[in-house]
């Protein structure tokens, strides 16, 4: 049996012919572009799993990932009119999600200001140390322990299939830095998984 090739970029398989959802999805997309929330909800339900997985691996904790996922879809709704169809919708959405997550500068202060808008003082995020459903305890936990820069590049390159040039443009780093961060991440993960 041949050794497995490097991770198949998920983004590429998702754009192969026939991989988009059926004509029903196009209908929902068309409705959503025109402002129909039910159509947009279908789009949300079709894509939330993928966006949440991305957010979970890039965010600080599960609560933060949930908030980022919601932010992604709100931004998607606002930007739907600018989807030109040059790429598949899932590719466009994924790129938008990466931008939203990486440029998340929203302070916890502003987050909690919404929570307390009605005067209630509420708990913030759930315990980030608790095991998160859906994550493998080995590699995903090790990814969560990577330094932020290395984690971002590893997730985008090895997990999500982005090229270094794309990562450099999105993250605002040099291509050489992206490559260096990737190899650092792989070394650190190898060491962590060995323990």
């Amino acid at each position: 049996m041949t050794s497995p090739a490097f991770p198949i970029p998920f983004a590429r398989t998702a754009t192969q012919p026939g991989s988009e959802p059926d004509r029903g999805f196009d209908t929902h997309l068309a409705l959503a572009v025109q402002g129909d929330e039910r159509g947009f909800e279908r789009i949300y339900r079709a894509h939330v799993g993928r966006i949440y997985a991305l957010a979970l691996r890039l965010a600080d904790n599960a609560g933060h990932a949930e908030e980022l996922t919601q932010d992604v879809f709100v931004r998607t709704w606002e930007r739907l009119a600018s989807f030109r169809g040059e790429s598949s919708f899932s590719t466009w959405l994924h790129r938008l999600a990466v931008n939203v997550i990486l440029s998340d500068r929203r302070s916890a202060w502003r987050r909690t200001r919404r929570i307390s808008a009605d005067g209630e003082v509420a708990e913030l995020e759930p315990d980030s140390r608790a095991p998160t459903p859906g994550l493998r305890l080995d590699l995903d936990q090790c990814i969560a322990g990577l330094p932020p820069g290395a984690r971002t590049v590893f997730v985008l390159h090895d997990v999500e299939g982005y090229e270094h040039a794309e990562i450099a443009a999105i993250a605002g780093i040099a291509v050489g830095t992206s490559k260096a961060q990737l190899f650092r991440a792989r070394r650190l993960l190898r060491e962590a998984l060995d323990r």
Binding site: F6, E37, L56, F73, G85, E86
Partner: protein, 200 residues
Amino acid sequence: MNCEMIHDRFDSKQAGTLDPAEREAFELHLAGCADCWADLEASRFLAARTADLRREITPPTDLWTGIAPRLQPRTRRLTLPVGWLAAAAVLLVAGTSALTVLLVRRPAAEAPTGFAATEARYQEATLELATVYRQARDSLAPATRVVLERNLAVIERALGEARDALRADPANRAIEEMVVAAYQRKIAFLERAAALDRKT
């Protein structure tokens, strides 16, 4: 072949696409470099495990309840542009009380390509944010407005200089990166400024 060049060829090595001379140089380097051996081994070790990672994870709660209230209503409209090419996809959808003609794809010929496309996206994002910022700015204290405008002027000057340089040397990738960085800086600043509340 040095370590950096070896790293750049990992994927090609795995895919078996190195030419014979490169493959020989690659293996010669590996024979004498413990660090690159370790890197290659780490990459192979991780490849299968990474491929097994789930790319879709269902959130533990239904996040739609936190999304729907934040969606600003948009008006439905009939869109009947003139002069669309046959490549456009036209869908007929039966609404509750009317037929709605929807167009979801524009012909590729209308879309800018290359860096022009990138810059168009940044300009669009900047314009949207600038509108939000101006509305927020008008409700801020005068001293705050002065502080914001002073900093924004510096950012815009730098963006203008970078764009001028790119116009003079359109194929220069380094200048393209500088233009992108300048747009990102402007967007980040406008987002911060727009988020300041009336108390400041």
